[in-house]
Symmetry: C2
Subunit: 217 residues, 2 copies
Amino acid sequence: MSDELPVTERTRLRRAHQRGTFDRKTIYAILDAQPLCHVACVVDGYPYVVPTLQWREGDTVYWHGSAASRAIRAQAGAEVCLNVTLLDGLVLARSGFHHSANFRSVTLFGRAFMVDDPEEKRLKLARFIDSLYPGRAAILRPDTPQELKATAVLGLKIREGSAKVKDAGPSDPEKDCALPIWAGVIPLRLAPGEPVPDPRNPEGVALPQHVRDFRLG
Amino acid sequence: MSDELPVTERTRLRRAHQRGTFDRKTIYAILDAQPLCHVACVVDGYPYVVPTLQWREGDTVYWHGSAASRAIRAQAGAEVCLNVTLLDGLVLARSGFHHSANFRSVTLFGRAFMVDDPEEKRLKLARFIDSLYPGRAAILRPDTPQELKATAVLGLKIREGSAKVKDAGPSDPEKDCALPIWAGVIPLRLAPGEPVPDPRNPEGVALPQHVRDFRLG
């Protein structure tokens, strides 16, 4: 497989092209950095976008939902556009015009497919759990056939799309920098807080390593 | 104006309806909690979704971009779907099936309009700066007419849409809770780090209160 996605009419970078890349490694790293994604599709000519959680396996990105969900039914077999964005910082400049944001973002295009085979679905969902909490899938009460049936897993081959990354300080022209205005960057990250145990946990059940080690970004 | 948005065919809540609301106060609070949003539109029958930053003024949500941007030109005057989502936590259960996420999310539908008048544009952009950093717009070097011209501001009236909020622990059935599996919630928040000053700041320019007080959520 090529290290880079092909450039297509809808992924050709027109502006800020120095920030764009078709490099698979960069795209994969951004997908792996954060599960939250947005999936857009067209229904009756109108745009719909829904937030959901994604995970990656090789050259495919997956997401799931209730088999009864309107969004899932609209996406299955349809052209979708999937975006993952990490807002890494806010950039404060000396003029409003030069204020901006630091970010990592991936946008993918293609036809979403449904994972129909129950065994494959089970494996994909286990992979989802393990992508967030390595080793956790194996210690869980297995999903029942009914639960698997109620869950739809959708996939999208990573064939068309691009990444954009911005990680820079304020871009004010030199002449603005003498102004007595504080400029700089407020870094941002999706930070985990202290885990909150379910009060129904049996006594003696310890916080697992995969929760203690949990991080995003 | 009504305290609630009307229920329409595309906003009628079909599943998990206890988590959905049309309440303007709830919708406004979520929009105000985080600037990152995703705007979807349809181009040549295909879905496109782009991340950008939004701000709200009364019953209108705004975003901006380069006037030359393909996304901005596609959105102007077009039907859009705008989503703001805060991922507030990951919920770990005793089975894969009951794993879930806590979140606050708003989805809005409608036709995006362009703010054409330069003076109105200037006011909206100042409002954007102040929505993040109260009082900052007034201390900045004003945007030049050329900069204003290069910046497109789009708006969407908050007329159709809904919010969904989930804030709960794991929903495992009672019989699963005896299993020796840690269950609970990993809270998440988009947390600001230590501000990084631009090395070009003149000596003696102090970190302003609006940066020290900055928070999201």
